[in-house]
């Protein structure tokens, strides 16, 4: 359980890091928190010639609001994100999902950008970024590129990042006022990989019917999936939960792996979708009655 021998670089700035990886390309591994790269190196699932450590880069660690978007540096540590006033106020879904990411001990090091770059199918942060309609900002030596979450996650551990690019920031549209959010997952034990996870954003019209709905599942397919659910808008939420769960299950192809068979995964998905939808609707209703 020791990694192969690698060169170690700890550049001070993003341009320095970009210069290094534009030469090294696939031979370099970018090290942020190391909560997934570390195990993969130790088990020799990755065998890079060089490790480029970006964990100390201050430039990647800010959280700010720019217009309608919350911008989080890729190097923001998950534990710090959990304690960020901006994230707790503007991105309630992410705020609810973060306690599900790994363990207390791994959130002390693991980063938002690291989780997105690794793209585990069951990971919570990529699912939230997808539901929010967020964007991954990638920087190479030559240019900056912005890729929507929908286009970024290509499959299990596969993303649109090119080998000469670093994820510098994630952009999260601010959650509109009145939105109810909910997140839930089921794993074999607390902190383990989700067998299935579901997340939901809901807004209600004046008459209590659905004004906007966005819903996605993680751990079910090989990447986070946002389900097309616009057809449910305009309906009264009281009568939607089970239809919605059926709809989602009819529109995903569940994975079959060591943790669960496809049929079991679908059964969990059905329960989780109904649960997050009901919870999100209840929260959206609370917003309505909240005094101005």
């Amino acid at each position: 359980m020791k990694p192969i021998a690698f060169d170690y670089h700890r550049p001070q700035t993003v341009p320095e890091a970009l210069a290094l990886i534009s030469d090294l390309r696939e031979e370099a591994a970018l090290l942020a928190g190391g909560m997934t790269l570390g195990p993969m190196l130790n088990m020799r699932l990755v065998r890079p010639r060089a490790v480029v450590d970006i964990s100390r880069m201050q430039a990647l660690q800010s959280i700010s609001v720019k217009g309608d978007v919350v911008v989080t540096g890729a190097g923001v540590v998950q534990r710090d994100a959990m304690r960020s006033d901006i994230i707790n106020r503007e991105l309630p879904l992410l705020s609810m999902a973060l306690p599900w990411v790994g363990h207390f001990q791994t959130r002390n090091r693991g980063t938002l950008g690291g989780s997105v770059a690794h793209a585990d199918p069951s990971a919570e942060i990529p699912l939230c970024l997808s539901i929010c309609g967020g964007t991954v900002v990638l920087q190479s030596r030559r240019r900056e590129r912005r890729v929507s979450a929908a286009d970024f996650f290509l499959g299990a551990l596969a993303t649109a990042r090119r080998s000469d690019e670093i994820i510098t920031t994630l952009e999260w549209p601010r959650t509109p006022p009145g939105t109810g959010c909910a997140f839930a997952e089921i794993a074999q034990r607390r902190g383990d990989f989700a067998i299935a996870a579901a997340a939901c954003h809901v807004r209600l019209q004046q008459d209590g019917c659905l004004a906007a709905l966005s819903l996605g599942v993680g751990g079910v397919e090989n990447r986070p999936v946002v389900i097309a659910v616009d057809g449910f808008c305009g309906r009264a939420p009281e009568h939607v939960g089970s239809d919605l769960a059926e709809h989602v299950c009819a529109n995903v192809t569940a994975m079959n792996d060591h943790a669960a068979g496809a049929e079991f995964r679908l059964a969990l998905t059905k329960v989780l979708v109904a649960q997050v939808f009901d919870e999100a609707v209840a929260k959206a209703k609370q917003h309505e009655v909240r005094p101005q």
Partner: protein, 167 residues
């Protein structure tokens, strides 16, 4: 902070603070922090279990945060302030958390204990009045194959209460 380049297989000097003392050892880039602490700095209280970040036995405090030392590399820890289980006692006396573990028999073989104690130090600082559910959530990052966790949960809740009462 300066830019650092170390060549594979080349041992370089790594200086850090270990349990309040300035220490230096030699490490090649691929050397795990857990191995560095044990083999170079003789901090044998760092227990090595799975070496891929699952079991939590090697957890140490790095700049006040509980982190698995097997998924960090020694070269990353240059300049860090590290506390291992050896640094928890107050002089010759066990600290409040350690006393609660002894009293509640929160260990049998003791292999997981060193890591758990380090996690608890940060946890109780941040959550001084934890619920049992919060304790169990934090403990999910550690594997114990002896106790069934019940006595560990009891000890942590007792330690929290002792610390609040200034014991």
């Amino acid at each position: 902070m300066t830019t650092v380049h170390h060549v594979a297989d080349e041992r370089v000097a790594i200086a850090l603070t270990l349990n309040g003392q300035r220490r230096t050892g030699q490490a090649e880039p691929r050397m795990l922090l857990s191995d560095f602490l044990r083999h170079e700095l003789q901090a044998f209280g760092v227990h090595v279990g799975c070496e891929h970040g699952v079991c939590g036995a090697c957890t140490v405090l790095i700049d006040g945060r509980a982190v698995r030392s097997c998924t960090q590399y020694a070269v990353q820890a240059e300049g860090a302030d590290i506390v291992t289980v050896e640094g928890l006692a107050e002089g010759d006396a066990l600290n409040t958390v350690q006393r609660a573990f002894a009293k509640q028999q929160a260990l049998q073989c003791g292999f997981c204990t060193a890591g758990i104690l380090c996690s608890v130090m940060q946890f109780l600082k941040e959550v001084p009045t934890p619920t049992e559910a919060q304790v169990r959530d934090m403990l999910s990052g550690h594997l114990c194959r002896c106790t069934g966790y019940a006595s560990i949960v009891t000890a942590i809740l007792e330690a929290a209460s002792d610390i609040r009462r200034g014991l």
